[in-house]
Symmetry: D2
Amino acid sequence: MNKEQGEVETYPTAMAISKRESISIFGGDLSQDFIGEVSFGAYAFRLIMLREPTPGELRLFEAVLVALADHGFTPTAIAARLTYLSAPDAIQGAIAAGLLGGGSRFLGVSEDTGRVLSEKLASLKRVPTDDAGWDEIASKMVADLKASKMTIPGLGHHLHKDGDPRVPKLFSIAKEVGTFGPHLALFQAMGRVAPAILGKNLPLNGAGCCGAALADLGIPQPLLRGVVLLARCAGLLGHIADEMRTPVAQSIFEHVESHAISSYPLD
Amino acid sequence: MNKEQGEVETYPTAMAISKRESISIFGGDLSQDFIGEVSFGAYAFRLIMLREPTPGELRLFEAVLVALADHGFTPTAIAARLTYLSAPDAIQGAIAAGLLGGGSRFLGVSEDTGRVLSEKLASLKRVPTDDAGWDEIASKMVADLKASKMTIPGLGHHLHKDGDPRVPKLFSIAKEVGTFGPHLALFQAMGRVAPAILGKNLPLNGAGCCGAALADLGIPQPLLRGVVLLARCAGLLGHIADEMRTPVAQSIFEHVESHAISSYPLD
Amino acid sequence: MNKEQGEVETYPTAMAISKRESISIFGGDLSQDFIGEVSFGAYAFRLIMLREPTPGELRLFEAVLVALADHGFTPTAIAARLTYLSAPDAIQGAIAAGLLGGGSRFLGVSEDTGRVLSEKLASLKRVPTDDAGWDEIASKMVADLKASKMTIPGLGHHLHKDGDPRVPKLFSIAKEVGTFGPHLALFQAMGRVAPAILGKNLPLNGAGCCGAALADLGIPQPLLRGVVLLARCAGLLGHIADEMRTPVAQSIFEHVESHAISSYPLD
Amino acid sequence: MNKEQGEVETYPTAMAISKRESISIFGGDLSQDFIGEVSFGAYAFRLIMLREPTPGELRLFEAVLVALADHGFTPTAIAARLTYLSAPDAIQGAIAAGLLGGGSRFLGVSEDTGRVLSEKLASLKRVPTDDAGWDEIASKMVADLKASKMTIPGLGHHLHKDGDPRVPKLFSIAKEVGTFGPHLALFQAMGRVAPAILGKNLPLNGAGCCGAALADLGIPQPLLRGVVLLARCAGLLGHIADEMRTPVAQSIFEHVESHAISSYPLD
């Protein structure tokens, strides 16, 4: 803000601007051009990217949102239910509490995978044209990550030890609609080469695959986690509806409270 | 929790249940039956309602989500941007901060409208069959609310003083797809009769209309606010993407800080 | 905001105002008059009330903060730990998630008790001068609340069924320091008369007692929940430190996930 | 969790454990040993550290909490006020929204400073015994950070360009009470040597000084941000009380909304 004295302060935005009689957005009119005319997924894509998705992009984007929306009793879903138990009068708090678990350990995997893939792709002089070419690059990438002792994002799942069932479906949709780009190609190659390099079976996981798919759609890397959170917001709403119908949070709380033992003093 | 000693504790849920090789939900398989097969809006509806929406219901549901997603520089959008400014490393915090504004004053209007309409409808012996019948009921409702000194939810907007442009479009879609039910009918009648009863022009607002539309879709009243929050989550993501491209939060902060004056001691 | 064209916008505040060389607050200088000169509890009291507490008021205020800081594995503490498990890189999210449980069911009891007591006291023509007088008023209040089918805040605790051990200590401190006012007197009377009126033993709980004590200190009713949240913030920090040393959140998550059963379709 | 079939699951904790008749903590009894017996600051220290602070440690710890509690209209305080404006019925949301700004840019400075200092100290073979010794180490540290193009935490403040007034007071208290340890010594030296190395006047800031002081008290580095958040929680409560008395959030919102201009399409 380098404003001259007296200069009028303004706040530029590409989001909606409301006037007395209209709400304008994306060079159009919210009511005439968007409400009832586009799907929520298409509108969400546009809010982030400021452009209309192609039908193929939209199909993959909505597939990713569906894939990420819910995974049952995750720590974030449990946190949302416990918060709803404590504060049923403020449902926004329960959803917010659930989203706050969107960090490095669970919901951050999509972002981390997208970043690792993007950095590798940015370093390439030319993009491979066949699987053998991708395998070579993926091998180098996995070996480097292994050497640096870093966790390799996108590999392994505590339950789906033989393969995450979401991964082949997402690959298949991306190929079908023509949005299978370099991030997904490198990610798929990573799945082929990792077991031999790491000496153990760590299959590709769904969160990582979603990160690769979103990166191929052009979603900027710092927003990948945001898309995951949008998807998860629907799942958390489902868990709260579920908690209203069939409460479990009180039982979880009582289970924990009644099994507490003292660890003080520490030895 | 009345469990016999030794009885196994279980947590029932209608959300996803994951096994080593599959993720089951709604009596089907996440990957085969939902990813890429249904829109995100349709899946969100199902997460909340545990049933598939009809095509008409889905069109109205997605229209409502689009209508509520963004309304420009609202207090919640500004709060999310300021939080992003402070903690750009934890985008989940910025989205959560924005959602936490989903309370009684702004994002709660949809819920409040839905509740007032539902309570009135529950008290009716029979549902009117024409506009005159609805107007009579709405007149009684508005007069009662006026007498009780309560704010009447769904009426008035600080900017759209001559009518919220989202309202006629939502009515039109609901009629077109055959989901214009008693909540929308009573809400529309409220708009017709309120000016004469209240002695001032307070047109129907979009948030209230969305509440009525969602109630007609069967969304339980305590979850109306949750649907608004899901919609708003997409808008907040848009604002954070906007803030990354064209930052304004630092300017807002500096404007406020530089115009602070002391109100201490209070007089 | 009714500003004439060109009028300068200002934001009045009784909180700190910073200049290049100083930070002013409460008519004094932050560094010279407050840092190292007053306890954190005394400063928190002043931030809320804009006045210095008397030594007696401060002793009771700090006693309440200590009493409310931690109660072990509450739903809010568990939610904070699960959020820390998911997002250990953003500790602010874990604390926020814990505080978001500060609603009507658990941490809201202090506020609800304070409100019920204040409303009753506001309706009195004169304040009783002995226990018999307080008992009479409390009897009427409890009978009215019972008749209205409302939950009576401040009574009963799921664990401390024979009496919450914090209550007599708080009464004793308030009497010792001379801040035992009408809210505590009415609250104490409520404990004496409730069992006979309700036909069951529902002793006074600590959260309600803290609400009464804070109300006697003059804390405005809408801020009572805020003081509880400040106290709880310290407890949540303790739980996160505990989780770092001796993790349990992963075990809680695994316990819940592994005991999930499907409740779909609902019958 | 490697439990044998049938083994009882337990959750160890050093926080409070409640029984029907008592609440135990730190090997003592909450009501008898802590409520009314220790200050809130002392209890918070114990919740984090599991040990009693010495009187000197407590004085510095409370001084840091007071120093960090409020800094006027920061982005986090504005976000809390805007959230309160939107959702006045859920004060926990406003406080949580404010705390969520506790990230890398603003409230994270204490943690970042503590980490940089701790890492440097951990690399030393022996600790200096005079200022010249500290200056030598600080010079190397600042030069290395400058060479790595990293922001140097603890240096500079957008308002207090000639020195943050909190810093000399905190140094003075730490020396007076005998807790001026290696973190503060290295931090102070950094302030002496930085201008010459960086070629510009970037004085030590208060947030960084608090991080150094807390590190000298033994607070683990990953919890430094948590202590800042506890302090800030009191300040946010003050801002919400202030907003109740003298509202400004609506004016801030209207200022921003009325100065919005479209940045779409981006050029």
